[in-house]
Amino acid sequence: MSGQNAEGRALHAVPEVATEKLTIAQAVRDAMLEEMDGNDRVIVLGEDVGVDGGVFRATEGLIERYGPERVIDTPVAESAIVGMSVGLAATGFRPIAEIQFMGFVYPAINQLFGHAARMRNRTRGRLSCPMVVRMPYGGGIHPPEHHSESYEALFLNTPGFKVVVPSNPYDAKGLLVSAIRDDDPVLFMEPKRIYRAFRDAVPAESYTVPLGKADIAREGTDVTLIAWGAMVRVCLDASEVLARNEISAEVVDLRTLNPLDRETMIESVVKTGRAVVVHEAVRTGGFGAEIAAQISEHALLQLEAPIQRVTGFDVVFPLAQNEKHYLPSRQRVVKAVEKVLAF
């Protein structure tokens, strides 16, 4: 497990640390780099995370900097990646495990649900699993089957995890730093569709974005759009279209789904009186349903219209040619907003 090939040539030059303008993928890498610098118990493991730098290059350069003992290329064994992380985390390490695509997480579910999420409670705090499981999720990149899924609802229905989904480079770095420092297992879902779609100014120095705090991505007065991850961009785009028709949409980027920042969300809905929840995952049993329930519990009488959901359909995620029909689009969000305004 060396970072050099047979000729002794470095396979990857060590890239520059923290430039000003970073993509989400670079921001993710930056967060790991800083935390690995600051704490030698932070280690990375997963498939192709070492010499290859990760299939999305999110771990690029880490093996050259920290060596194969802290950046571990594992056998193709998702259950082992998480199961070993449980053993490592419970004995003092802070593993960052990468599942190459969220669609491949099923073999690791037993370890995630059966152990990582339960160890603290099971031992009444004697052992715990401070670990981050990073997984690229969602559609939009025209890949083969099993590469486009959004399974956050499974994890939100399993107590013991925190579930974090950044929508932009700044949050990606700050949230991942918080996740690595968190004392509980954190599922960190990375919107691969926008891994490299745009760049943001990201501070070179270390900073955190707290878990459990939503962001008002755009202020507005007529309707609240609630989203996370890649769907935040779709909502922002839709807001632009709506603005041309003098409809003012507020976009709440939840950033963390567990713990959920209910306060920010409800405040916005109370202000606008209308809510549209947008997510990529299938509709039935999706987190949108929970959000709608919580709004009903806490702001029903302030609502001017029924809550609308713009989500994936209750179908298997389509292969490349048809994924455009599945994914919530700007147009669908605009239509849903028009519907709540017309009620």
Partner: protein, 357 residues
């Protein structure tokens, strides 16, 4: 283009103490006579508390209990081979070795009586909690072994599971990864030949479970699991090898579950009285007693004293169990996270209002 042999393997079996209590002097490991007596005491203690737990269960003072009767030699032998700093990663039929490693018996009882505090061991006890999902603990054994290797710590991870668990994918992944990374892990299979109602030949077409080690490039050995000296010798060899940094290894200890799978099971539904009687004749405790008596290291008076002491110690542990204050209702919430999220706090408060009204 020749067709050549690229790999050939031999799997050994180790037996030292026969059912009559005679040992093979050439293979006998060096054990001080007083340690041999301790081994016997350990095994009798296990049998005593196992029997007690079954009684408590029948009286409604204990939940479902998986008995360890017949498997005492494996647990005593491996425990003796382990060092103070070594980690134990058990499955769910390892109460014997857990207690020998320092887990208070009343906590073991508490866990099986339905109290999570039973898995909150004292800080200095290096033992994972019981793992119920079959085979999942093997992966933790590899992870802890990797952890110890990365930290260059003078300790090894000893992880246990049953014959049925070797059919799980997690067993394959765990032993495979241990081999790849050279983790400080020793895998101990308690092959008691029955996974609830399914016999070993329906778990695998392989002649032995030990030979599976070859497929992962690590050493493996089969031992007579009812022979405490063979278990101790094999465990010492494996643990010391791992401790020296020479990588993981696997031990298949062949034994027999003399009891039911758990108190919720009735083994007479699927296995014969004859088979049970045959294995009762190979009882690991009887065998060691015959050896001790033969060597002049044990007599009836010592036996009487030991049985009294064991019973009285176990009674003390039952008392400690029954003196535990009940958990407060909020304890179902308080260890879910390092810091409870607001929605969990709300739910906890609603429960408290309900129980107080």
């Amino acid at each position: 283009m020749p067709r050549t042999k690229v790999y050939e393997a031999v799997t050994e079996r180790l037996e030292i103490l026969d059912t009559e209590g005679r040992v093979d002097a050439a293979l006998m490991p060096e054990i001080d006579p007083s340690r041999t007596r301790d081994l016997y005491r350990d095994m009798v203690l296990m049998r005593t508390f196992d029997t007690k737990a079954l009684k408590l269960q029948r009286q409604g003072r204990m939940g479902t209990w998986p008995p360890i009767k017949g498997q005492e030699a494996i647990q005593a032998g491996v425990a003796l081979a382990m060092g103070d700093n070594d980690w134990l990663i058990p499955a769910f039929r390892e109460h014997g070795i857990m207690v020998l490693r320092g887990v208070p018996l009343h906590l073991v009882f508490a866990y099986w009586a339905g109290d999570e505090r039973g898995s909150s061991y004292p800080e200095e006890v290096r033992c994972f909690p019981v793992a119920v999902p079959v085979g999942s603990q093997w992966q933790h054994g590899t992870g802890v072994g990797l952890s110890l290797k990365l930290r260059d710590e003078d300790a090894v991870a000893v992880t246990f599971g049953g014959d049925g668990s070797t059919s799980e994918g997690d067993f394959h992944e765990a032993v495979n990864c241990a081999g790849v990374f050279g983790t400080k892990t020793v895998f101990v299979i308690q092959n008691n030949q029955w996974a609830i109602s399914v016999p070993l030949h329906r778990q695998t077409a392989a002649e032995t479970l030990a030979q599976k080690a070859h497929a992962y490039g690590i050493p493996g050995i089969q031992v007579d699991g009812n022979d405490v000296f063979a278990v101790y010798a094999a465990a010492t060899e494996a643990i010391e090898r791992t401790r020296r940094g020479e990588g993981p290894s696997l031990i298949e200890a062949v034994t027999y579950r003399l009891g039911d799978h758990t108190t919720a099971d009735d083994a007479s539904r699927y296995r014969s009285e004859e088979e049970l009687e045959e294995w009762e004749g190979r009882d690991p405790i009887l065998r060691l007693r015959r050896y001790l008596v033969e060597q002049g290291l044990w007599d009836d008076d010592q036996e009487t004293v030991l049985l009294e002491e064991a019973a009285s110690w176990v009674d003390g542990q039952v008392k400690a169990l029954e003196e535990m204050e009940p958990q407060a209702p909020e304890e179902i919430f308080t260890s879910m996270y390092a810091a409870l999220p607001p929605h969990v706090v709300e739910q906890m408060q609603s429960l408290l209002e309900e129980v107080r009204s």
